[in-house]
Symmetry: C2
Subunit: 373 residues, 2 copies
């Protein structure tokens, strides 16, 4: 293998595929980037076997250099090649397999001879595209990811809760995440009629969010075994999480006796201020609402207490006292990303719902906590 | 105790004294800031018993609010009070000891009641000023610190090497740091005639560097037991390191057979590029210099090799091959902070010296390493 390419193009492509690579993989090949020149294209692949990312660079574009001397392939430790390509002080970089697996990476007056790994032993990854496909704007997909995936569980005891459930049965796509103490649900309309029900690891969605450019469409292809996100010439492929996703719609209350409308910034700042008051590592906030005033308070035997008056935009209902995890409400309000939030309650020990007052595509549900003070 | 003060003034002062505080101190009082109102002044103190920082805020300045209702003192956990004062959304903050040690910190519509600690049990720290004193411009002191303290040892086996030695015997101040593989030495002229020989912990110097403002003078006061750095109304006091500092001047060669002058950026970048090639965790660089060309190379059985040609500004001497720790030379060149560096050698296995070509107040000495290839 022997080719020359613009540093900028190679570095960007390596950075993208390296996102899938875990430096501590037990399989040595998976700590590397597979670099392949075939049919006039440069194909870069990175994988940790759960997530695989492949990026294809074609020849003969106008705005960068890409010249092939010889086809072939090699696997190079991701951290070495990224480091070399980032630091090399040259516009163009030549990558050449010399002898066996020894690979020369050179530019300007510097050259590096790196011990590569034979690409024939790199695990074969099937990037065939599933037939169930839909397109979504990057901006829309980013919103789905940021507004739901934070609510997934980080515990492996119920693996299915570590992913976001994507379900379509007609024109609507419903995305749900829950760790069983809180739940985030986003519904958007897709073009056409779609039918699938898959759970995608939150980790993959995080990598997708980092990779997509806001101004493009993303093609999502889904089978029973995997999901693919196509962004221009890059594909991010992920395994799905096995197991039936719990039926969550019956958990979401539909009738409310209390309704509080607040400036989002006000409640975020108030929770943030009180958050250092923790009992057993958790900051529990008590909300005391009435037509007269809205109070946020917290208390811990060890640290002390806080009390803050909030200005409600609107409150409807009898006086209410309810306690909750400060972080859960903070996270939920933050991702709603609106200026005004509406919180609806059905009782002191019932789950409550937080919405962006100007966007009904998304809801956040939170379970209150019992306090004894 | 009861006083009101501008948030900005209180937060800045707390941030400074908190630098001395270790959250994991075995003495609970030392995890707190001592807050004292006495004789119309606010006195804040933080300490980890090695370093102590005290800041005094006086009343009746024009550009901030500071009103005392009642004198007194309290100790408050540093992380809590910093967090409260940073996040509170008010221009002015009131601090009031309520009942016993319970302290109310309030501003605008928020209030916090924090369990404080009795100040009478806070260790008594003697801030008396030693009589040996000299003044130095902050900029000059910052240079001393950055150009020497990186070369101190981080191992406690020879405690005296974890500090920078400050020695004066007449008008010159000589500052030396060494970990026994490299040495940094800075000499500056002081006003007057000074006589002292003390070793100041590198950690303290780091805190001093973070605290001083570039546009001021720093008064340094030294006794056999402690050193103080006075910056306006702030004093940073440190214990000294016991033990005789080694006599280093005989280690520094004075005759050189080879001399290499280089662009500082060129050598920094070349070493940085080669630094991922490590053997047993260390990146060893070989320099091959001759009148014809200057080569930087590195090699590791596992990773591979690198080779780079440097443009010398000037080389004098016979051909030379010498190997050294890439990081040591990188650190030394970086802190010299010049555009051109001059490296002087006396032989392949002899210590060599790096200087900023435009500043002879500082020298960096490095021991070469033996390689077997």
């Amino acid at each position: 293998m022997n080719f020359k390419i613009s540093k900028r193009i190679l570095f960007n492509a390596l950075s993208v595929v390296a996102r899938a690579i875990s430096a501590n993989s037990p399989l040595p090949w998976l700590t590397g980037v597979k670099i392949e020149i075939k049919d006039g294209e440069l194909i870069l692949t990175g994988s940790d076997s759960d997530i695989s990312i492949q990026k294809i660079i074609q020849k003969n574009e106008d705005d960068y250099v890409f010249e092939i001397q010889k086809e072939g392939s090699i696997v190079i430790e991701a951290k070495y090649i990224l480091d070399i390509v980032r630091k090399i002080d040259a516009d163009e970089i030549t990558v050449q397999v010399l002898d066996g697996n020894l690979t020369k990476i050179s530019g300007h007056s510097a050259e590096f001879n790196i011990n590569g790994m034979k690409s024939s032993e790199y695990p074969s990854i099937d990037f065939t595209m599933p037939t169930k496909q839909f397109e979504i704007h990057a901006d829309q997909l980013l919103k789905i990811i940021t507004q739901t995936s934070f609510a997934t569980s980080d515990k492996e005891t119920r693996p299915v809760l570590t992913g976001v459930n994507f379900k379509a049965d007609g024109p609507n796509l419903e995305c749900v995440a829950t760790d069983s103490f809180r739940l985030a649900k986003k519904i958007i309309k897709l073009d056409g009629d779609n039918h699938f029900n898959v759970t995608i690891p939150a980790k993959t969605l995080g990598e997708v969010a980092k990779t997509i450019d806001r101004d493009t469409n993303v093609l999502i292809a889904i089978s029973d075994k995997k999901a693919q996100f196509w962004i221009d010439n890059t594909v991010i492929q992920t395994r799905l999480i096995d197991g039936l996703y719990p039926e969550t719609s019956r958990l979401i209350p539909t009738e409310f006796m209390y309704e509080l409308t607040l400036d989002a910034r006000d409640i975020l700042n108030a929770i943030d201020r009180a958050s250092f008051i923790k009992s057993e590592g958790v900051s529990i906030i008590k909300l005391s609402a009435s037509g007269k005033e809205i109070l946020i308070s917290s208390k811990s035997q060890e640290v002390g207490s806080s009390l803050e008056k909030l200005n409600a935009i609107h409150y409807k209902g009898n006086p209410l006292e309810i306690s909750f995890s400060g972080r859960y409400v903070f996270d939920a309000v933050r991702v709603l990303n609106g200026t005004v939030v509406k919180i609806e309650f059905s009782g002191e020990m019932k789950p409550f719902i937080i919405r962006n007052a100007e966007d009904d595509s998304v809801l956040q549900l939170i379970l209150p906590v019992r306090t004894y003070s």
